[in-house]
């Protein structure tokens, strides 16, 4: 019996998470419905003011509010299966690098959030942006969405591990999550808004924030990777 490689452990754990989610669709369904509800609330909130305001300039911010709260809901549930029946302990008994548990869970969370974004972002565009002039840079919103999602899923995964055994885990997760992702969120909102409006200050309002967001992702994911063993063992 040879100990499998880290990559093999990662693939096995990721496959398990995907199989489980696509069988139960718990995270995807709850996140999808929540995203739809937020869009409906936006519709009511903006119904009377839409004529007077420039929705394109608010689009980036509104879109990220939708993504952050939808992700928060999913991330809070991402360890529900691990906690049930002591599965996390079963995995912890296996001789493997604990950081692989983080990596597999973070990647599965990224994929689930991206699936919801693929549905929610076009819906958001359809309901609120169809009357607006389309900037040629609009497809560039994919970059901040991807960078932001990776960072949020990484930070959210470690925070979800920390809070999974606490009594008021949902509140605690939100209280820790929002301040930690704030720099990333700020950068991604700026870049997304720049892509939607097609600003002339492209380097300042799109490229720089995106570079900062990428840097933030790298630093935070490395910190999460290094700390995960301590977090799950404590």
């Amino acid at each position: 019996m040879a100990r499998p490689s880290t990559l093999s452990h990662f693939a096995t754990l990721l496959r398990k998470d995907l199989r489980q989610e696509f069988r139960t669709r718990e995270m995807l369904t709850s996140m999808g419905i929540y995203a739809l509800l937020v869009i409906i609330v936006y519709g009511a909130a903006l119904a009377l003011t839409a004529r007077g305001i420039d929705i394109a300039n608010m689009g980036g911010g509104l879109l990220w509010v939708l993504i952050v709260f939808t992700s928060l809901l999913g991330l809070g549930r991402s360890f529900a299966h691990e906690k049930e029946q002591g599965c996390m302990e079963g995995i912890m008994l296996v001789p493997l690098d604990r950081s692989v548990i983080f990596l597999a869970k973070a990647v599965s969370n990224i994929l689930f959030i991206l699936v919801v974004e693929v549905i929610a972002v076009p819906l958001f565009y359809f309901f609120f942006m169809t009357g607006q002039p389309v900037a040629p840079t609009l497809p560039a919103i994919i970059a901040p969405l991807l960078v932001g999602t990776i960072g949020m899923a990484g930070i959210g995964t470690i925070l979800s591990t920390i809070t999974m055994n606490t009594r008021s885990k949902d509140v605690l997760l939100a209280v820790l999550f929002i301040p930690l992702i704030y720099p990333l969120l700020y950068a991604c909102v700026t870049a997304t808004t720049a892509a939607i409006t097609g600003t002339e200050l492209w380097t300042d309002l799109f490229v720089m924030p995106l570079v900062l967001a990428c840097g933030y992702d790298v630093v935070m994911l490395l910190v999460c990777w290094v700390l995960y063993d301590f977090v799950v063992s404590a």
């Binding site: 499998p4 398990k16 029946q85 002591g86 302990e89 079963g90």
Partner: protein, 236 residues
């Protein structure tokens, strides 16, 4: 070489010592039953010995492997059955066992899983989700999970909780059939059953060892009296 060894082992949570200066040696093939009242530190001791918790002080060894220095090496030798099944309810019995077999790097995982499902009498339910199983059936799959990598030491943490008498009988027969030269360490509240199965008995109170001895040196009535006195001492 001893299969399990603890040397002045302690585990503290803040200022409270859940396990306090515990020492014992267990030879290969032995079956140790650990008794004590709620809060005596039995489960914490088991968690430390199974590498799920780090000791605050002292040392523990599994076949001479220091748990602090090389926990991964020790984990290769350890299996654990607890009242929680450690199985994913939405995966099938076969998927659960394959998951653990692949994580442990078992050679030919499919054949091993098939063999284990046969052994626990659940081959016919291998494609059913664990969520649909009774408590007794789930615990049988849990035995298969714990043995998937053929561990030399198996820890049992109150494995009978929630089982009906028929399931207990099946569980006992299964444990007996896989016993071989494996070493077992079981935490139990059931004195008669735990004493009946063991080769060594350990009584804990307030994190400390009150008594540790091979069964052949113990008289059951005397031991039962000691146990009742110890449990009467209450929670730490």
């Amino acid at each position: 070489m001893n299969a399990v060894e603890a040397k002045h082992l302690s585990k503290a949570f803040g200022i409270r010592k859940a396990v306090d200066d515990v020492s014992f040696e267990l030879p290969e093939g032995a079956f140790l039953s650990i008794f004590g009242s709620n809060g005596a530190g039995k489960t914490t001791l088991l968690r430390v010995l199974s590498t799920l918790a780090r000791p605050s002080d002292g040392q523990a060894f599994i076949y001479g492997i220091d748990l602090k220095e090389d926990p991964d090496k020790a984990r290769e030798c350890i299996g654990m059955i607890s009242h929680a099944s450690m199985l994913y309810p939405d995966l099938t019995a076969e998927e659960n066992l394959l998951l653990y077999a692949e994580l442990y790097g078992v050679d030919d995982p499919k054949a091993r899983v098939s063999q284990l499902l046969d052994a626990v009498g659940l081959s016919h339910r291998r494609l059913d989700q664990v969520r649909t199983f009774s408590r007794g059936m789930t615990q049988r799959v849990s035995i298969a999970r714990a043995l998937v990598h053929d561990p030399r030491v198996v820890f049992l943490d109150e494995p009978y909780s929630g089982l009906d008498p028929h399931a207990v009988e099946i569980f006992d027969n299964l444990i007996e059939s896989v016993r071989g030269d494996r070493t077992f360490v079981m935490v139990s509240h059931d004195l008669a059953k735990g004493f009946g199965m063991c080769t060594h008995a350990l009584v804990m109170s307030r994190g400390r060892v009150v008594s540790f001895a091979p069964k052949d040196q113990l008289d059951y009535d005397e031991f039962a009296r000691l146990y009742r006195e110890t449990v009467g001492m209450g929670v730490a």
